[in-house]
């Protein structure tokens, strides 16, 4: 490194390299001055940010940091924040870009810390409400697993004792110890099932929580009574049941949290402050204080803080967040801009029309939030639940009444309890998660990752596939699709040194065709208009034509056209016909122009095209089809597809697309192809079959076991054998999913 001119990917790397060389942290203070502060006095808005204060007067806050490019960025940000007097904790997550800060407000303020981050060249942002990691559920699961393991150890001893004589003191000890361990499991760990059952009853919905709560109540009450009377209890079955069911619930809640986080990232995309134009000049105000009718000043490279109309100035705005199209859009007086978009060049004054919750961006975030909150839908097992519960109660009462009349109180009670115990919904409640996990695995091995088994199973009923164009059916990069070599050669000469996406596409296509690039002279680039210059001694200018076209104009005013487009993925046509064979109607949706969309549709064999549709429009389309009774699959790659992905019965994101679309989707394709979608449908169908078989088996088990219990053949040992046996049956049924999928694809 010594003596060489070093080039760093970012300021983080440069500072990190300096620190490694021994320049020390003090160099940071020298460097800080070199960085031009971010436009707009970013610090101002941070004073208004609410922070949490703990008992000792220590403030804490979570902040989104944008622009972290590599591990060094994280390292430098953390170390320099920690070097700040008064900072107690500063950790930055590379995966999410979130900084957790704890500091002494007497020594340093949040605006200073935000200023430090900004001075490093990163962009601190305010974070919206955050989804909390569910610590409570993990605690319950941990405690239940601990108790279950210990109880089962003691029950093995108890069961062994049935065949040999066992000292009654030990029997009593094991039973009491098991009761002590089972108490927190029944009263605390299982509490979510009780509250679920109660809230379900209150809303008139009977779901799987009800038989579970009932089972736990019966098992535990019987356990207490049996232990007091020195009889055998079913406490091992109780602890096992609660542990397995909590583990299932834990897996479920993780998926929901991911979706909620995507909404937070969107909310964080609005800048914290804005420059408001007043009679006396510009003042920096927190974005939240902007009002409709305010005029805000936006310079090149700055983000727009509110939705509004341009009143003065021109510039190019990148609205990828909203439209998903990467090309900047020209705006001038009367043009509309939305919060979260970026002004690439120029300068504009915007009259504010919508702020905060009313902005397009916030409405998108809100839709994601609602979608994430829709919670678990009622599954087939949930629909069986009321019948299951009712049936069990009726059979138990009948058993009690019958034996009471025939034999007596004791026998009647024991048998009624045995009915309630063996009719435990464990196998039924597990039949779906286990087969679901097998289905998820089968799909994942073939490039389609699903967030939950529920989402995968929804693929079975899908009869309509909405495909986003850019980046999903197509590769997502701009290419020249039409234009002769001579025109291309001159255009490439003009655009050779431009970094505009169209320029890159032209130069790339020329190189691909093996055309030697001429050297253009007197090149003049007019932002938003085009480029002109001399090639081969003649003057040319390149102008944007109709959408998807670029015109090359010579001195006499003669025009030649280059058509721009987006290359279709090589296997898209094959996938579309595969989806059709599976019984799906395929529709292409895009924010792009109709003629471009129709060309792509013709190339891939898609029948229906919906063009010029905005993100909310895509979601509305999904809702409209759903109201018609269709089951909609939506595949897309951009952040702008988020609302539609969330609204669809099954949303599938391209893994190489925007992070937020990945987070909100039900499934993610890990390869750059749509091929995993039909494969996923096969996996989902195999999974659905396995679940049906599992459910049939567990119902058959219940019928047999309940009959045995009615007859009085069931005791705790029989239950301890029967219940795992029913679970084993379900596991075996689930393991066959992979084999089925393999056979179908062969």
């Amino acid at each position: 490194m010594e003596g060489a001119e070093d080039v760093y990917c970012c300021t983080g790397c440069e500072i990190a390299a300096e620190l490694i060389r021994g320049a020390g942290l003090e160099r940071y203070y020298a460097m800080r001055e070199d960085f031009a502060p971010r436009p707009g006095g970013l610090e101002a808005g941070w004073d208004a940010v609410p922070v949490d204060l703990d008992g000792a007067g220590i403030a804490s806050c979570r902040v989104q940091v944008d622009g972290l490019r590599c591990a060094s960025c994280v390292w430098v940000t953390e170390h320099l924040l920690r070097a700040e007097p008064g900072v107690i904790e500063a950790t930055v997550s590379y995966a999410t870009g979130r900084a957790t800060l704890r500091w002494d407000p007497a020594a340093v303020g949040l605006r200073d810390l935000a200023g430090r981050i900004a001075a490093l060249g990163y962009r601190p942002r305010l974070l919206g409400e955050e989804a909390q990691f569910d610590r409570d559920l993990l605690l319950r699961l941990g405690v239940a697993a601990f108790a279950a393991a210990n109880i089962m150890l003691m029950y093995v001893a108890l069961y062994a004792g049935w065949w040999s004589t066992m000292d009654t003191r030990f029997v009593a000890l094991f039973q009491w110890a098991s009761l002590v361990l089972a108490t927190p499991v029944a009263l605390w760990c299982a509490a979510p099932f009780f509250s679920g059952a109660v809230s379900g009853l209150r809303h008139g919905v009977l779901h799987m929580d009800l038989p579970i709560a009932l089972g736990v109540t019966v098992l535990y009450t019987h356990g207490v009574v049996a232990t007091l009377q020195n009889q055998h209890a079913y406490l091992d079955s109780l602890a096992m049941l609660v542990t397995l069911l909590l583990a299932g619930r834990m897996l479920e809640s993780r998926g929901r949290r991911r979706a909620a986080e995507a909404a937070v990232s969107l909310a964080a995309s609005v800048p914290t402050t804005a420059k408001r134009a007043t009679a006396s000049g510009l003042e920096v105000v927190p974005s939240a204080q902007l009002r409709t009718g305010d005029l805000i000043d936006i310079g090149a490279g700055e983000e727009v803080a509110a939705d509004g109309t341009v009143r003065r100035g021109t510039g190019r705005v990148r609205m990828a967040l909203i439209t998903g199209e990467a090309d900047p859009v020209e705006v001038g007086p009367g043009g509309e801009v939305v919060a979260g978009s970026v002004l690439i060049d120029g300068a504009v004054i915007v009259e504010v029309e919508a702020v905060g919750r009313d902005t397009v961006l916030q409405q998108m975030a809100e839709r994601l939030r609602i979608a994430a909150d829709r919670g678990t839908r009622q599954s087939a097992a949930d629909r069986i639940a009321p019948w299951f519960t009712g049936g069990t109660l009726i059979v138990a009462s009948a058993t009690f009444a019958g034996w009471l009349a025939a034999v007596g109180m004791d026998a009647a009670l024991t048998r009624a309890v045995a009915v309630l115990v063996v009719a435990c919904p464990c196998a039924l409640a597990l039949s779906r998660p286990l087969a679901g996990a097998a289905g998820l695995g089968a799909a994942a091995r073939r490039g389609l990752l699903f967030r939950s088994a529920d989402a995968l199973l929804d693929l079975v009923d899908v009869d309509l596939a909405g495909l986003d164009k850019t980046g999903t059916v197509t590769e997502g990069a701009l290419v020249i699709v039409q234009g002769d070599d001579r025109v291309l050669r001159i255009a490439a000469g003009l655009e050779r040194y431009s970094s505009h996406p169209i320029a890159r596409a032209i130069v790339e296509e020329a190189s691909r065709r093996g055309i030697p690039l001429p050297r253009g002279t007197e090149i003049a680039e007019e932002p938003g208009v085009g480029i002109s210059g001399a090639v081969d001694g003649k003057r040319w200018s390149l102008r944007a034509g109709r959408p998807g076209e670029v015109r090359l104009i010579d001195e006499q005013g003669t025009e030649a056209v280059l058509r721009l487009g987006d290359a279709v993925r090589p296997d898209s046509a094959r996938i579309v016909s595969a989806l059709r064979e599976l019984g799906l109607e395929v529709v292409l949706l895009t924010g792009d122009h109709r003629d471009v969309a129709e060309r792509i549709a013709a190339e891939t064999g898609i029948g229906t095209v919906i063009a010029r549709i905005d993100p909310v429009g895509k979601a509305d389309w999904v809702h409209a089809r759903q109201r018609e009774g269709r089951h909609v699959l939506f595949a897309g790659d951009g952040l702008n597809d988020g609302p539609a992905l969330a609204a669809a019965d099954v949303g599938v994101a391209m893994g190489r697309g925007a992070a937020s679309s990945v987070l909100v989707a039900d499934g993610v394709i890990s390869s750059g192809s749509l091929a995993p979608i039909p494969v996923g449908i096969h996996a989902a169908r195999a999974c659905r079959r396995a679940i049906r078989v599992n459910q049939a088996r567990s119902i058959a088990y219940n019928v047999l076991a309940v009959s045995a219990a009615v007859a009085g053949w069931v005791n705790p040992l029989v239950a301890a054998v029967l219940m795992p046996l029913s679970s084993a049956m379900v596991i075996w049924g689930s393991s066959r999913v992979e084999a089925t999928v393999r056979r179908q694809l062969a």
Binding site: S72, V74, F133, R135, L139, G142, F146, N150, F170, A177
Partner: protein, 44 residues
């Protein structure tokens, strides 16, 4: 065999201590983020 009479409560007590340590670990946020710390080793 009588040893079981006092060994069992001791075993459960030891187990309970670990269960409490687990509770404290969860409360202190050790399990909140399982993605970043493994990467963090590579950063330093």
């Amino acid at each position: 065999m009588n040893a079981v009479l006092f060994l069992l409560p001791i075993a459960i007590l030891l187990g309970a201590i670990f269960a409490i340590l687990f509770v404290l670990a969860v409360r202190s946020g050790q399990f909140d983020d399982l993605d970043d710390p493994p990467e963090r080793i590579l950063h330093d």
